[in-house]
Amino acid sequence: MFYPRYTNRKEPEMPNIKWGYAINQWNPVRREQQERAFKQMSVCGFRGVELNEGSGRWEPLGRPELTELNFGSVHNFVDFLHQCGIDQVASFFYDPGLYSAEESSYGRSPANPKDHEGILESIRTFATFLRDVGGSCIVVRPTGSYWREAPLTEEKFKNIAECWNKVGKMTKEHGIQTALHVDCLCAIHSMADIDKILELTDPDLVGLAIDTAELTITGIDPLRLYDKHFSRVKHFHFKDTHAVDTLDEYKNVNAEIQLLDGGGKREIERWFWEMGTAEGLVKFPALVKLMKDHAYKGWIIVESDRSPNPAESTMLNSWYMKYVLSKI
């Protein structure tokens, strides 16, 4: 009798949950780098991938048309994913404020009605792609950074809501959910802000994505937010953090560089961590228990952007998923 002393691919036992991983920590450019990244996700038990919007020569997976140019067709790209052991594209992360050479855009703002048409048409491309690859969600940054957009007036809120209602209607026609993703620099920055944008948007068209670490850094308890708005929550990003932005440095000019990259005045060495570190602030078991109570059904995308070692982070998250969360 032969007994190979390793176990084969074993799926976590969470029937309503599909586990995926975000590509952003690898940012793979060459085909073999892409292959290795997808294989790492796959062998760690993640069945879907969340792609990340990007533009130009460094982002061959950042836009549907770049993917088609590289792979010949969307179908070929899906085949490639399957060969690497990834079942599907789950979602796309999209920030309308980013530069896009392909759209000759230096960033658009949902708070500006003049940008709405551009945002709508831009996202249509991504929604079409997601529909074609069997994806389910476009995860969007609802508005720009606080230091650029603040103060968010009533009118700006109204404009932002109008933008996402239009986008949500369009993506729904493609069978794709639009979900607003609040990050630690975003102008929508408090529980009250989130309450407000959800109130102003149509629940049938616009959902919420909960990013556990981004919200915790912001000072928002992701469990409380989820409990309050669970019916609107359509997507999760699971990652941890060891620190909260207690000095409100998100308000500073160039907070992306000063705070997120540089660590701010406290020189935080690393904002984002794998699940399961002793210093982690996110209560993942309690959150998963709550998700079970609210019968959440859908994707959890694990993310470890800015990881110093993507493979290591993916393996550690895999362990936590299999040995802690799936037992809840």
């Binding site: 009798m1 032969f2 002393r5 390793y6 290795r36 790492q40 110093p308 493979a311 393996m315 299999k322």
Partner: protein, 304 residues
């Protein structure tokens, strides 16, 4: 096999630096489904200090989903006045070292004591029959002792070691006792030396007690195995000898080896090894993922 380097604020460090680092290391390999751990003899004392005993370390890995420490590795790659397998006068000292390691395994269920049977080729040459017999005598003696402790002594042949060719390997095993000295198949080391690991496994399958599954992109065609002080590290023509399974340039025929393992109904462990995976910017975690992907998607299917 626990070759591994991890990052710290102080730069690259051992994964066994502290309990916190060990925790991260073990969780990574456990997450992928690896059940056994191969380690070095020199680590046992440190691990016992860190955890209270080797047994407590084993319990620590069991708490994280692994099963056990499978084997312990010991070697004398570099000749010293007091330790050189081809010098009979050093055998008492080597034997005592091995005995100390085996005693350090008490309380564990280690199955194999993996040894390099020789030192470097360049420090041993000319490799005569007499020297091979002296080395065989040493490992017969050690193997008898380890067997009394329920552990198999098994020999791992480096491409730069003094027992490296098919002829030298054949002589060595003909002069060692099959009850005491077993064969260990390191796939990449054999290929670099110009040998076929499948042929070697077929030849010594009844003495085979373990494997290191790793790949290489190069055969040593220039005789670089003789370069002092270490051909693995400073060979002029090859910067990185060892690669994870599943790279397009890999030379080891793993499917053929897996079929042979199946045909002969090998019972035991298959160990994945990444030796010096960080050369050229690689890292151990990624190599481990890629290897396990290859196991799950290619090698496992041979057993289905």
């Amino acid at each position: 096999m626990d070759h591994w380097v991890t990052h710290s604020p102080r730069g690259p460090v051992s994964q066994y630096l502290s309990v916190k680092y060990v925790d991260r290391f073990i969780k990574q390999i456990a997450a992928l489904g690896f059940m056994g751990l191969d380690t070095f003899g020199f680590r046992l004392s440190h691990l016992a200090t860190l955890f209270g005993s080797a047994k407590k370390f084993e319990e620590f890995i069991q708490d994280r989903g692994m099963e056990k420490i499978v084997s312990v590795f010991q070697a004398y790659p570099y000749v010293s006045k007091t330790r050189a397998p081809h010098v009979r006068a050093t055998h008492d000292a080597i034997f005592q070292d091995c005995l100390d390691i085996i005693k350090g395994c008490q309380g564990l269920t280690v199955e194999s004591f993996v040894v390099m049977p020789s030192s470097t080729y360049w420090q041993t040459e000319p490799v005569t029959d007499e020297k091979i017999k002296i080395m065989a005598d040493l490992w017969n003696r050690v193997g008898k002792m380890t067997r009394e402790h329920g552990i198999k002594t098994t020999c791992h042949h480096e491409f730069w070691g003094a027992i490296r060719t098919m002829d030298e390997i054949e002589k060595f095993y003909s002069w060692t006792d099959p009850n005491y000295v077993h064969y260990f198949c390191d796939t990449a080391q054999h290929v670099i030396a110009g040998n076929d690991p499948v042929a070697l496994y077929l030849r010594y399958h009844d003495r085979c007690s373990g494997f290191h599954f790793k790949d290489t992109h190069n055969v040593d065609t220039k005789g670089e195995y003789r370069i002092p002080p270490d051909a693995e590290l400073i060979a002029p023509s090859v910067q990185r000898w060892f690669w994870e399974m599943g790279t397009p340039e890999g030379l080891v025929d793993f499917p053929a080896l897996m079929r042979a393992i199946k045909d002969y109904q090998y019972i035991g462990w298959l160990t994945v090894e990444h030796d010096k995976a960080d050369i050229g910017g690689g890292n151990y975690a990624e190599s481990t993922c890629i290897s396990k992907w290859y196991i799950d998607n290619v090698l496992s299917k041979i057993y289905e």
